[in-house]
Amino acid sequence: MSGTADVLSLVGQSDRTMFAMAPWASTSASRRVPTAEQLMAPECGVVLPRLNEVPVEHRFLADDRETIRLAEILVTLGIGAVEDWSQSGRDPTKYASLTLQRWIRNHGGATIDRRFDLDVTLGDRLVDYSDERGPRETLYLIVDPEAAAFAVLRPTLEFLEKIHLRLPATFFTHFVGSLNRWVRVYDFHDAEERVEMLREWYEGEANAEQYEVPDVEGCVPQSLKERPLSLRSLRAIGDTIRRDETRDLVNVLLELCRISKQVRRPEFTEEMGEQLMDSNPPLPCLLAAFSAGDAVAGCFDDEAETALETTPQPNLIIPLKLTEPTSVRQGFRTLGVVCETLAAASRLLDLMPGNDDGVIGREK
């Protein structure tokens, strides 16, 4: 007989066996009824404290006029969903937030999240927490990285070189070029600029030869010195490739190029320049190195140490003029294209050999 069964006793007059429990921690001596404490298994000691009565969200509302106007436009244009209004608790700010989340989700948000760690902000100023906002009735969609994604290029370039001598340069140009159209990619060109700047600094020093700079030139594959093919030629080559993995790689690259060019990048205006006076360059959304820990990655790490000394410029600014609903439509369309471009880049990275480590693990 188990220990638990040993302390149980029968109660009631029926044929069915029933066990009664005494009140917590008080044994009924006359009836030998066990206490709850005796019945319960001892606690395991590992507990996740739950926050049952704690609100998970606080909203601070001040002047809602612009947000209400934006919400009206989003509904009128069919960008905002009706069901999000009740889910927002009839709060225009929350509604705008849910609309933005839905828009990103419908344009490849989950795929983007596999590789990229990005923020999209809908705000009235370009510098977060700045006292100076943009012009009245103008809002901005801003894309910026939380951390840079990582692409290892060498295995892909070596693999493509075996198929066609000019494919590596073609791949690099169109992959990096399509992304650079919307967000900043840190590649060997940036590293070369960094090295050049370091050399200039060291030239004035007494023992200039003692300084060692990263050998960026030495880590750039020779195949990248070839002239890249046009997209038409790439398409033609893609049609002749028999191996599935390679054909998929070329097809997704072509898809990336096509999506990336669907809309024009919004103009960087003088007014934006005034808000971003004295800003650092944008933070890279992707580090495109040839291998982990190479000279390009080294230069990136070196620059990262000072990148946040002053506020960086956003990667992408999409203005929305509330006085012109068409600009809101165009702005969300542009954001959709940016999301789909990033999703295509994420799919391409999935196909590129040697890039398994770049997948971001996220808790659901």
Partner: protein, 237 residues
Amino acid sequence: MTSHVRIGDNRIFMLKQAVLLYQDGSTTLATLHEVKSLHEGAPYLGAGQSVTTGFLERLARGLGASLAPEVLPANILSRTPELIVWWSPEKPRLMFFSDANKDTTELNGRMYPHPALVFMVNDRELLVRALGENRRPTADTRLKNAPYWNTDAHGRVCLGSMRVPEEVSAGSLSVWEDAYFASEFTHPSGAVHLTTHPGGFLRLWSSLARRDRRFPVKFLADANQTLQEFVQKRGES
């Protein structure tokens, strides 16, 4: 992609972290926990990490308890994250009075000599005191009441229509002074002894209008306070 909406002062604050405090007598241990959410049900706390000095520094920065490094000019007397105190030598300044009555209409928009002044901006509140001598005060210097309307016995200025500058820094002190004198003096602010001039406030300023002379400091009323007390009390009784 994480999305944020930041329009105007509207904010949506999401629960992200929790600090748990453990005490043994007077010694306290703090742990920082991520708040995790399930699709349904209440959120729960993740495993704790010891609170580091770096975390406390970030927290303090978030609370505004930090100052950007700046070179302080010689006229600054005290500086903390919440307040800045400076003095301004005697000089002629333009004054504006409301045109509510005939006496003030005649005083409005004229140049007057002013005594040396001590200004304080404390949590965006402006305070003013006057100095009996035209030199940098020390902690023990006894202060005078500023001989101005809209300024109470503690030196606090009723900002009224004054255009309050956005910035509070060593570089914005003249902007605060200009904003103060660019707004209208409209009424006495509570029971305060503004001047010892036998004719009172209006006679003092009418006697000084367009006169090429220094401000007569003998007509300044004692504030019963040293500079040290002024800085420590920050306008409190």
